[in-house]
Structure formats: structure tokens, C-alpha cells
Symmetry: C2
């Protein structure tokens, strides 16, 4: 089967899946969890084989750790599925209802997007999480995992597909792709695939965004800023900057650049350095910064680099406007925070910084679906349309307008027989 | 100035415009209306010059009519601006508020998308409507109108820009492009332009969609279907089919194909023909149809053609499933309607037809922002993400997450000092 055939199967399944009732989906999710537990041995065996191969290929230790999928991980994903079962079904919600005229009622109702293509990193947990999120939201899933997890992913996809075949879920809703060529082929299938969610390195996400006409939900860079305003509480500023940089460096919501108002730089920077030195953070500063603390000079490249490491660039700015301008020039629209005791400046920063997540007096590291309480995270988006910031299940949904008449024609209105009333109706869609 | 320079000006203006208060925007809108009225003479003179040129070039009569921009049209657009002033400001609405922990509050707040590129047809009214919709929603606008309206559009854009310069609206928020080359250049500016709304012929919209990485909101084809189920009331079916086809043929929500259940075809088709003959509709049918009514045969191309004319293709289907399958294969995801007295089939059709607008017992012609009561229409979208169907002002909006803390760090949570509460807050964002 070609990727086009697979996508066409997914498309057909997605049409039927859109109309599947909540209890059927929840039952299928329970069957998936049951099957994963029942087939633990087979899964672990496949994973051990992937691990062996990866060790032979000298995969780095952190990647090996992510690749590992043992009984504990199986139990974790099954627990995740139980939480997903408890989540409210996001499909079929009446968003708005309007009477257009007596007997002619318009309902805006949430529905799945259709076919979602997801390309994810080496963790096999991702396959289970993503496919079950798609199922709960009524979407078909075309999945491609890291090649080093190929055997684990294959068996997981097979178990999940088999588990739902016994239920009323349309077969073909979950499809696994195997090669980079498969991904390239998928990027061209804009008539069957409705949304692509790429996870992985910046270069990879950028490649996807630049090579498809299909909508892409995600983010390439995460160049997050901490701005210390002149009125900041210095203790708070040091804490927030340290947390934003050091709490976990390898993630997109970690800070990469610190901006500091010139009037507080002298007092703040030495305190910051003391704090970051405990984590051995490499500091690079603008010329003015290097006159206050003894660190290496930053060059223009530093302002646009996502280090994902114990490394931070620092710039002294004349005022909040220069800080905002810097962020809107070099930032990636991900997450930026201001530390200030001025409400006016807090408001200004949050209004004028063009990012999905703008924070006041807290760490950039809060930018995350779990911390936001979204229930489940589909990804973090720096898009300016559809969904932005940490995206929950609602990112996998769109809506349909359903209009119910009793034979109404537009001619009836142009004739003057009917008049538009456009009254809001407090009623859920129900035929 | 290059198009990149213009886009960069628009981008800078958009950042400031996002924070402009409602009364400032409404005041600017009032200034625009005042200036249009005050400069009526100059506008009409420019338009007469465009009209003269167009007549020399033998522009078709309907196009000439659309191009005409006289005092009555000026009064109309000014009235439109007054309605827009009365509309609620869609920016700054708190969509959701959550307490993450005591003192750490998350607000999901609506905000403008940024810079919208709009390419529109020959009507100069469109320039005024689109730019004022952008202004009300806090977006900068890059506009390109039909070349035959170049003089009218230039003077309109100049008057609008001048009128807002006296207000607190950032200059540069409205930009006019002049050539096709400008449009091609704009398609590449994905770092400054956030959304493109193309209006015009199918080929043109498809060209835009295929040649940019910027998100595009719109529709190419409008291949709308009327399906007559076996249990349909025949009078109602004839009325709805006639209205869907004939009420106004040149628009995207007019029906192009009629599907009819085999068990009602014999009774329905002659009645339909009688009704459509009054409008001189050319009918093309599948083999079975031509055995019931004396019309020309349809070929496979007819099922995927948007006639935009007094022309309709007709196909007899075995059952509702074949109708749904046909629509999902040949339709454009725009608007499809079923005529039936079966609630079950109505529900099935509305769930399984993959279109932005799915109707029961009413005409496809209702698919329209004004008829839906949206207040203003930005366009009709067949996208599967962001906005679908007739799109009102909300299509020009996205949201930001604003998180307000008191020095909160993620370390506080990993240390166990704080716990996530994730409580909904019934409060609008306010610092």
C-alpha cells in the first residue's frame, strides 16, 4: 500500500469516526488499555530489541532512556488512557445556537478535524498518547515515530488497531508510517490529511513547515525571554530568571535570553550571576553587561539562538520599549515573562509582546499543557491561527454549522414572507 | 518601498494596534466615515476615471456595475461603518480563566492575529469593508484590489489612512498593493504576514493556496449539493432545490448537483424539471435520470464542476449512503443540504457529510455571514482548521495566554511548596 492509499483509508475512517458516540470511544479506549497490559510481554520484547540495536549504534544515554518502554511505562500510558476516558467528550458540543427566523435554527457544533498526521520523537509512549488523543477527539491518526523505536512502535500500533477492531470504531483510523520517504509523501497529500503535528528538532519542524500546504501545528524555535524591569523585586527577579533558565534546560519553554533595565542592572546582575553559577550556566553578555559582571561577550547570533543548554545571553536595555522591541524581533512567539512591580508596565508588556504566552512575575517554565490544566497536551504552537500556546484536545477540533429548517428558502426572505430574527437560543443541538 | 518594507511597516503597526482601546478604534472608524463623506467628490471623480477606462477596455456590464462607486455606495459603506462601531469589540475578551495555584492566575484572552493580506475583487466597497473590519479587530491590513479599480482604491486607501492619522491609531496599519507582482512578493513574506484572505475566481484562490506557506482563509470551489431523500415532502424538495439553484446562480452557495433517492426520483424529477424550466436551467443527468426526464446526459466532469450558472447536474442514488459518499468525493466542503422527513437520516447526513455547512430541509443559499447573523462577514472558508463556513470578525482573532504570578517558579512545585489547583475562575482579565 502506498502512503496515498493509507491516507485514503484514514480519511474514510475519519468520516465515520466523527459520528461515533462517546461511550463507544470510551469503550474502545478501555479495550486499548486492556490489550496493552495483556500484551506487555510482547511489547517489552520488541522494545528490548530496539534498545539492543540502539546500543549497538551508540545512541546517547538520554535517548536510550527515552526509548525504553518497560512495564512501568506501560502502566503509565494505561493510567493516561484512564484519565482520557474520564475527560469530557469535546465532540458535538453546541458552541452557539441562533434562531434565524421562526423554525429555522442554526447550530455551531464542535467536530473533529479529520485526519491528523503526527511525527514524533523516539519515546514510544508518544504513540499511545497521540493515538488515544486522536481517538477521543474523533480524528484518524497517521503516525511516524523515531526510527530507533520502529519495532516497539509497530507492535504498539498493531495492538491498538486490533483492540479497536472488536469495537464499533471504524478500522483504518490508526495508520503507522515507517520511513522518511513516507513522511515526504504524506506532506503532499493535502486532499486527505487535514493537519500535521510535527515534534522534534527545530530543523525538522521547519523542514515540515516549508514543505507542505497542509496546516502545521507546532513550533520550531522556543526562544523565550525574561525581562527584568527597573521596578522589579530583585529576589523575585533572581528566582524567576534562575527557574526559567535552569529548572529544565532541554525544553522549549526554558529562557534563552535575559533582558534587564539599565537602572537595575548594577544591583541585579551580580546577584543573578551568583545564582546561575551554582548551575554552571555559561553567560554571554552585551558590552554593557560585560562591564558589570565578568562574562564573555555575546554576538548578534546569540539573540536568535535556542541553546537548550546551561547557557544564557544577557542584554541591558534602556527601557521596557527596547525590551519589547528586542523580543518581537528575536523571539519566536513562544513564551516571554516580565518581572516588575509596575502594573502599567506589566500590562504594556503583555499587550505588546507578540507571543502565545506572556507572563508577569512568574517563570517561563509554566508554559505547558499539564501546568495549564488542559487535561492533555497535543503540542505547543507558535501559530497565529487556530491554536496558540500549549494546545489541549480543542486543537484537534473544528466546528460545523448545522442549519435545521422546515422547507425554508432564501426566496421567502427576499419576498418578505419571512424576516431574520437572529435570536440567540439557549439550546444544545438535537434533532 | 518594496513589498517587504510595506509588510514590515504593517507588522510594526499591528503590534501597537493590538493594544489600542475600543473607544480609540471606534473614534477612528467614525473619522473614516466622516472623511469618506467629506471627500465624496474626489472619490467619485477617481471612480469615473476607472469606469471610463474599463468601458474602453470593454469590461462586461456586470463587472462595470460592481466597479461603480457613486454617492449611494459611499453612503452604504458609511452606514456599514456605523454598524461596525456598534459591534462589540472582539479583542481582549477573557475566553477562560484558571487559578493554577493560589496567586498564580492564567487568562486566555482574545487578541488580533496581526497582519492580514486581503486580495479582493473589483468592487471598491470591499476595500472599505475589509480595512474597517481589520481595524475594529485590531489587525493591520495589506490590500490588493482589482486592477480596474486602481484609481478608486488608491484614493480610498489614502483617505482612510489620512483619517486615522489624526487619531491614536498607529500609522502604517493600512497598506495598498498595486500589481500582481506585489501579490507574488507578499506570498513569500511569512515572517510578517499572518493570514491571507483571497477573494476571486477559483483558479486565483487555488493559485494563492498552492504558492504560499502563510495560512490562507477562504474557499476555491463551492460545489454544493441538494440531496432529496426517499421520505422527502415533494413540494418542499422542489422549492428547496429551485431556491438552492436559482435564487442567485453566480455565488458559491448555489447548488451545482442534485442527488435524488431512486424511490422518489420518478415522482420528484418531472416536478423539479417543471420548476427549473421556468428559470431556463440547463439540466444534465446520469443515465437513470435521462430515462425519467428528457435531459442531456452528464459526464464525470459534471460532478466536479462549479457552473455558477443556470445549469444543474442530477444523479439518482440507491440510498443516503451513496449520496453522502458522492458528496464527500466530489463536494468542496462548502454547503450541502438534505430534504427528508426522517430525523434519523437528517442526523446521519449532518454527521457524515464533511462540509462546513450541513443543512436539513432548507436551501443551501442560507450559507452566508449576514443570514447567519454574524454581524460582519470576513469570507467563507472551507478550511478544516481555525475558521470554517461563513466567517465573522472572530476569524480575524486568536488568543494569548496571560499568566500572572507573584514570583512563582516551577521549582516551587517540584519542591512541593505549591500544588496545582486548576480551579476555574469567573473573572475577566484585569491587572
Amino acid at each position: 500500500m502506498t502512503i496515498a492509499d493509507i491516507a485514503s483509508q484514514a480519511k474514510s475512517a475519519s468520516i465515520l469516526l466523527a459520528a461515533v458516540k462517546t461511550d463507544v470511544k470510551n469503550n474502545a479506549l478501555a479495550e486499548i488499555a486492556k490489550a496493552l497490559k495483556a500484551n506487555s510481554e510482547e511489547i517489552i520484547k520488541a522494545n528490548l530489541s530496539d534498545l539492543e540495536e540502539a546500543e549497538k549504534n551508540n545512541l546517547a544515554a538520554p535517548l536510550l532512556k527515552r526509548l525504553k518502554f518497560d512495564q512501568a511505562k506501560i502502566n503509565d500510558v494505561c493510567q493516561g488512557i484512564q484519565s482520557l476516558i474520564k475527560l469530557d467528550d469535546p465532540v458535538g458540543k453546541t458552541i452557539k445556537a441562533t434562531e434565524l427566523t421562526n423554525g429555522l435554527e442554526l447550530y455551531k457544533v464542535s467536530c473533529p478535524i479529520g485526519v491528523i498526521g503526527v511525527i514524533f520523537e523516539s519515546r514510544p509512549d508518544a504513540l499511545v498518547q497521540i493515538s488515544t488523543l486522536c481517538l477521543k477527539s474523533g480524528n484518524a491518526a497517521m503516525l511516524k515515530g523515531g526510527s530507533e523505536a520502529e519495532k516497539t512502535n509497530s507492535i504498539l500500533a498493531k495492538i491498538i488497531a486490533r483492540a479497536t477492531e472488536k469495537t464499533a470504531i471504524p478500522s483504518g483510523w490508526i495508520q503507522l508510517m515507517h520511513t522518511r520517504q513516507d513522511v515526504s509523501a504524506m506532506l503532499k497529500l493535502d486532499s486527505s490529511i487535514d493537519l500535521i503535528i510535527p515534534r522534534g528538532s527545530n530543523e525538522f519542524v521547519k523542514y515540515i513547515m516549508d514543505n507542505t500546504n497542509i496546516a502545521v501545528l507546532g513550533h520550531a524555535d522556543g526562544i523565550c525571554h525574561v525581562y527584568i524591569d527597573d521596578s522589579a523585586d530583585i529576589n523575585m527577579a533572581v528566582n524567576i530568571a534562575t527557574d526559567s533558565k535552569c529548572q529544565y534546560v532541554a525544553v522549549c519553554n526554558a529562557a534563552e535570553t535575559l533582558l534587564v533595565h539599565k537602572d537595575i542592572a548594577q544591583a541585579f546582575l551580580p546577584r543573578l550571576k551568583d545564582s546561575l553559577d551554582k548551575f554552571n550556566v555559561e553567560l554571554l553578555g552585551c558590552e554593557k553587561t560585560t562591564k558589570i559582571i565578568d562574562i564573555k561577550p555575546a554576538d548578534d547570533n546569540d539573540w536568535k539562538t535556542e541553546y537548550l543548554d546551561y547557557k544564557l545571553s544577557i542584554k541591558i536595555v534602556d527601557n521596557i520599549d527596547e525590551a519589547i522591541e528586542h523580543i518581537n524581533t528575536f523571539g519566536s512567539g513562544h513564551t516571554d515573562t516580565i518581572v516588575t512591580s509596575s502594573t502599567k508596565n506589566g500590562e504594556k508588556f503583555m499587550n505588546l509582546v507578540d507571543a502565545g504566552d506572556v507572563f508577569l512575575n512568574c517563570s517561563t517554565r509554566f508554559s505547558d499543557g499539564f501546568r495549564y490544566g488542559l487535561g492533555a497536551e497535543v503540542g505547543i504552537s507558535t501559530n497565529k491561527i487556530h491554536a496558540r500556546g500549549p494546545v489541549g484536545l480543542e486543537g484537534l477540533l473544528i466546528y460545523k454549522y448545522k442549519l435545521i429548517g422546515k422547507g425554508h428558502t432564501v426566496t421567502d426572505f427576499s419576498n418578505g414572507k419571512y424576516k431574520y430574527t437572529h435570536k440567540n437560543i439557549e439550546k444544545d443541538f438535537n434533532l
